[in-house]
């Protein structure tokens, strides 16, 4: 029986990729906090993960962008809310670390299996 690296990595590869994309979009939202008329955008992470084809671990198409609905719309048309975006960015960074930890554990398990300890 051979070890398939794809099976080991599982969905975590795609999750990391999405987290990365999401952090770029959230960084863009934060950067344009004071730009008039800028509309905050985001990725529906759960939706994107469900769209994932089980055979194909890395989706060919990039994630679909959606617009954020602001809780308190501002006069200048900017829909970035600093607190919301900061919280989302922090959470996304933490989730990125979580995915990394999962991957690390998988690799450690593989190593142990290979070395027979």
């Amino acid at each position: 029986m051979s070890i398939r690296i794809d099976d080991v990595v599982g969905v975590h590869g795609r999750a990391l990729e999405l987290r990365m994309q999401r952090s770029e979009i959230l960084a863009a939202n934060l950067a344009n906090e004071d730009t008039p008329g800028f509309l905050a955008r985001d990725i529906d992470f759960a939706g994107e993960m469900q769209r994932l084809d089980p055979q194909q671990r890395f989706a060919a198409s990039s994630a679909e962008l959606k617009y954020r609905v602001p809780t308190q719309p501002s006069q200048d048309g900017n829909s970035v809310e600093l607190s919301v975006e900061q919280a989302a960015f922090s959470k996304n960074a933490m989730d990125f670390q979580t995915s990394l930890t999962f991957l690390s554990m998988k690799f450690r398990g593989l190593k142990q299996a290979i070395e027979g300890r």
Partner: protein
């Protein structure tokens, strides 16, 4: 990698906020500059920000959705100068009036706070990004 585009986005934001802080400092410093004529009065300066979308989907496939900030221009606010009676001022005209820029100091201070907050947000983004990248580099170690 998407990392470099995030670095660029955060960098552009820091750059834009620095320009904004610069105008605030200039406006506050010149709040009490007098002038003999209405045309010579210092005009408050304001930066104009615009979002630039990174449209490199065609070339790279990743790094979509980002938008960095560009300072389009720094415009003068175009407010009417304030005429004030001050006969002792060496710049006063024959009726004893001098002109001052109409600068709202409270507005400038709040603008400064907002710019500082945004700058700090970008610094925080960079710090987070650094730890994300370091975590990725350590993947597979022990």
């Amino acid at each position: 990698m998407a990392f470099d585009s995030i670095y660029r986005i955060a960098g552009s934001s820091m750059n834009a906020q620095t320009v904004r802080l610069n105008t605030v400092a200039s406006n506050l410093a010149n709040a009490d500059s007098a002038a003999a004529k209405a045309e010579d009065v210092y005009q408050a300066r304001k930066p104009v920000f615009a979002a630039v979308y990174n449209n490199d989907q065609l070339t790279r496939g990743v790094g979509m959705g980002g938008a960095h900030v560009q300072v389009l221009d720094v415009v003068t606010a175009g407010r009417e100068p304030v005429r004030r009676f001050d006969p002792d001022n060496p710049l006063a005209d024959d009726q004893g009036y001098v002109f001052y820029a109409d600068i709202d100091q409270i507005e400038e201070m709040t603008d400064m706070m907002s710019a500082t907050r945004s700058f700090e947000t970008s610094v925080e983004v960079l710090n987070r990004l650094k730890s994300m990248q370091q975590g990725l580099l350590k993947l597979g170690e022990s």
